[in-house]
């Protein structure tokens, strides 16, 4: 769906002579990135509205996408699978935030924060077959992932100390989802090497 929309956008731009024929593929890729982020942001906001945690949902989505961009992780092989999995992951995360807010949980999210951070620090960055990284890039993105993770963890702890638990939960949820994607990506890589 997003691919077709991206192709349509590039076709429209081609009509206006904004994009050369040989650059079409590149711009379809660019629009895909743009539209997919916008689509999942909108979806997360809708979930946030439904669960009554809009601010938390937006914060979760921003921290997650920034972290995911540099840390990497598992990828679906087909666009349709991706749309379903990402939509489901966003729904579960927003529902988890809602659950934590309602039950005022502290201990469980704190344990998850520690475990997720360890996972991210050990496994990132994890590239994919579709976009391989060079050693130099891996070093650079590892540093960036460490910085972003430190920032999110610091924000989460600060929010907890200040009693702003509604900001604490989205930070923990984004770290948790990213760590799960990294573990899944690593497992997928190991399994495909064995086969």
């Amino acid at each position: 769906m997003i691919s077709k929309l991206s192709e349509k956008a590039v076709d429209v731009l081609s009509v206006h002579n904004c994009i050369a024929q040989e650059e079409k593929e590149l711009y379809v890729y660019g629009f895909f990135m743009l539209f997919s982020k916008a689509f999942f942001l909108l979806l997360t906001v809708i979930y946030g509205v439904l669960f009554g945690v809009v601010l938390e949902s937006v914060l979760f989505y921003i921290t997650f996408t920034v972290l995911r961009s540099y840390a990497g992780g598992v990828h679906a092989s087909k666009e349709r699978t991706c749309t379903i999995c990402t939509s489901l992951a966003m729904l579960l995360c927003v529902a988890a935030i809602r659950g934590c807010v309602k039950l005022a949980l502290i201990a469980v999210p704190l344990v998850l924060l520690v475990l997720s951070t360890i996972c991210i620090l050990i496994l990132s960055p994890l590239d994919s077959a579709e976009k391989r990284l060079m050693e130099e890039e891996k070093k650079e993105y590892r540093k960036k992932t460490y910085r972003i993770t430190t920032l999110i963890v610091s924000a989460a702890i600060l929010a907890l100390i200040c009693g702003l638990t509604r900001l604490f939960y989205p930070c923990v949820t984004s770290l948790m989802l990213e760590s799960l994607l990294l573990v899944a990506g690593k497992a997928k890589g190991v399994l495909s090497e064995r086969i």
Binding site: A9, L13, I19, Y29, M33, S36, A76, E79, S128
Partner: protein
């Protein structure tokens, strides 16, 4: 009207280029599906290798 359409087309192109630049300088995209990166993506990298 034609000018407005051209301006909108240029703005859209610029937004796509920003997305390309962000993607070229990161490990992956935000979603769970990563399409095959086109060869032309390298020219959007900050450091040309």
């Amino acid at each position: 009207m034609k000018n407005i359409k051209m301006a909108a087309a240029k703005a859209a192109k610029s937004a796509a280029e920003s997305a390309l630049k962000r993607n070229a300088n990161s490990t992956t995209c935000g979603a769970l599906y990563q399409p095959k990166a086109p060869a032309g993506l390298n020219r959007f990298k900050n450091k040309q290798k």
